[in-house]
Amino acid sequence: MTTAIRAELTKQGHRSASWLLLGIGTLLTVTFGYLVPYVGLSDGSAARGLDAMLPGNFVGAAVGGLPVFVGALALIFGVLVAGSEYGYETWKAVLVQDPSRVRVYTAKLATIAAGTLTGVLVLFTATALCSVGVASLEDQAIVWPSAVDIATGLGGAWLMATMWAALGVALAIVLRSVALPIGLGLVWMLAVQNLLAAIAAPLVPAIADLQKYLPGPNAGALAASLGASPQAPGVDAIVGAGHATIAVAAYLVAFCGIGGWLLHRRDIT
């Protein structure tokens, strides 16, 4: 098992796309969490935003992208991890070396978990550094959140990122490719979720109820409970933290299960 995981980590680690996704996720989070608000701040137009940029709130800034855009990047990562084996036609090469599909698939899941953990740690480090930067520029005291809050934030962020990556894995296996799962995944995350939340839910009560059980709004509520700004896309406390955590975890399990089940029973042609 450990060498199977090492195989997957080698495949992903040597791939510039994996690191590019990480870089873009960090850049977007820092830009919209610190750079843009800070420029607004020095214009004097948004003075009340300063608090959100100080070290005490860096966890919220770090998790703010996960319901939508950082989540979308995690989904792309998941698609690449599983779908590339179809794209490069390498499933057969792997499975003649190790015919245990359970082991190969488990190694893939371990790899997406390692990848999303790396991503989340980088996001937390980057936002922490930015918050220190803002505090020193603005002559504010550096007061960190409690260790428990940081750990909870990390855990929640990791859960959300892994859930989206697992959706990517499941889509890649269902559709046996790379391009279509990324396309459909992004349409869902960036367009459909938005339409549901902004247009459909306010009009149709049934859809508003349904929102409480979809992955995106639950991730949004989880991020809100971790301190993300409600101005970040998708962040909205429509359900409590406990409900949101359970829902996101349930989707994670479901996505992993769908992918594994299909990979197990289908022919590799």
Binding site: A4, R15, Y88, K92, V94, L95, Q97, S100, T269
Partner: protein
């Protein structure tokens, strides 16, 4: 007699049409077995079933006398080599060694075996087809397998590359490994295989030794002058039924082993022989013959 591979009524259907139909073959330990058939015969489908990549619709198979549990003793290359294009040859093999549960130290050994050590640091995407195929063979050898399953191993190679690959396969067999390879080239199977199973439209037509397979078809071509004397001699030697004449070119329905005797008779009669050549039966002709369809 122990079998490296044995299939019993192995069948794979796609919809209602069988790609492989009630196939029963046996590959003996230590032999090179050729799986011969034209495009679409079901060769790849069968090999994929042996490897657990696709599930048989019905029938059963054993590897080394047991229902396959893992592929620890098997190395395989199916439908051409596929690797991660952005990784070097060496890193690709390391990844596959990790999947196989084989020490990464084995990678340099197999690179040496296929003569790719010098180019192993280069990215796979930049490899020539011949190098890709050699890297594919290196991956097959990672587990130091007792059974090699090779799907059209010479496909796409130039003549030198083909000869090289065939020689390598023979050498691997001489080390005591069993090789099951598929091909659509009769001449190739004839060169490297001990036994052959001929597949056509998913069905096994015949399973036999290579010598027996090629003894049926084929003809001896003789070009000789003067033509009339040659004709007289040839009809006397092999019988008029077996001589097809076209000016000074004759095609004789005789076994290849008759060539020397025929040549001697012609020369003794004062005929000058400018060509004496064994013509392989075309694979298609052989199939027609085996399926009993008139050409």
């Amino acid at each position: 007699m122990s079998f490296a591979v044995e299939t019993t009524k192995l069948t794979k259907r796609y919809g209602s049409t069988p790609a492989v139909d009630q196939l029963s073959i046996t590959v003996r330990e230590g032999e090179v077995y050729g799986f011969l058939g034209p495009n679409g015969a079901g060769k790849t489908t069968t090999l994929r079933m042996l490897l657990g990549l696709i599930r048989p619709t019905s029938g059963s198979l054993t590897l080394f006398g047991e229902r396959p549990r893992g592929l620890a003793r098997v190395g395989a290359l199916i439908e051409g080599p596929t690797f991660y294009p952005y990784l070097s040859g060496r890193t690709n093999l390391r990844v596959l060694a990790d999947h196989a549960g084989v020490s990464r130290r084995r990678v340099d050994e197999v690179l040496e075996l296929v003569d790719l050590t010098d180019r192993a640091a280069e990215v796979f995407r930049t490899y020539s087809l011949g190098m890709k195929q050699r890297l594919g063979l290196a991956a097959v050898l990672l587990k130091d397998p007792d059974l090699l399953i090779l799907d059209e191993p010479t496909n796409g190679l130039d003549p030198a590359g083909m000869a090289d690959m065939r020689q390598t396969i023979r050498r691997l067999a001489e080390d005591g490994r069993t090789v099951l390879l598929s091909s659509h080239l009769l001449a190739e199977v004839e060169q490297i295989c001990d036994r052959v199973g001929v597949l056509h439209k998913g069905k096994l037509l015949i399973e036999t030794t290579v010598a027996e397979l090629t003894s049926g078809g084929g003809s001896l071509r003789v070009t000789a002058t003067p033509a009339d004397t040659a004709y007289t001699v040839l009809t006397a030697v092999v019988g008029a039924d077996h001589v097809h004449a076209d000016n000074e070119v004759f095609e004789l329905d005789v076994p290849a082993t008759e060539a020397a005797r025929i040549n001697a008779e012609l020369v003794a009669a004062g005929v000058s022989v400018s060509e004496l050549r064994w013509l392989q039966p075309a694979l298609e002709d052989m199939f027609l013959q085996l399926t009993g369809v008139e050409s």
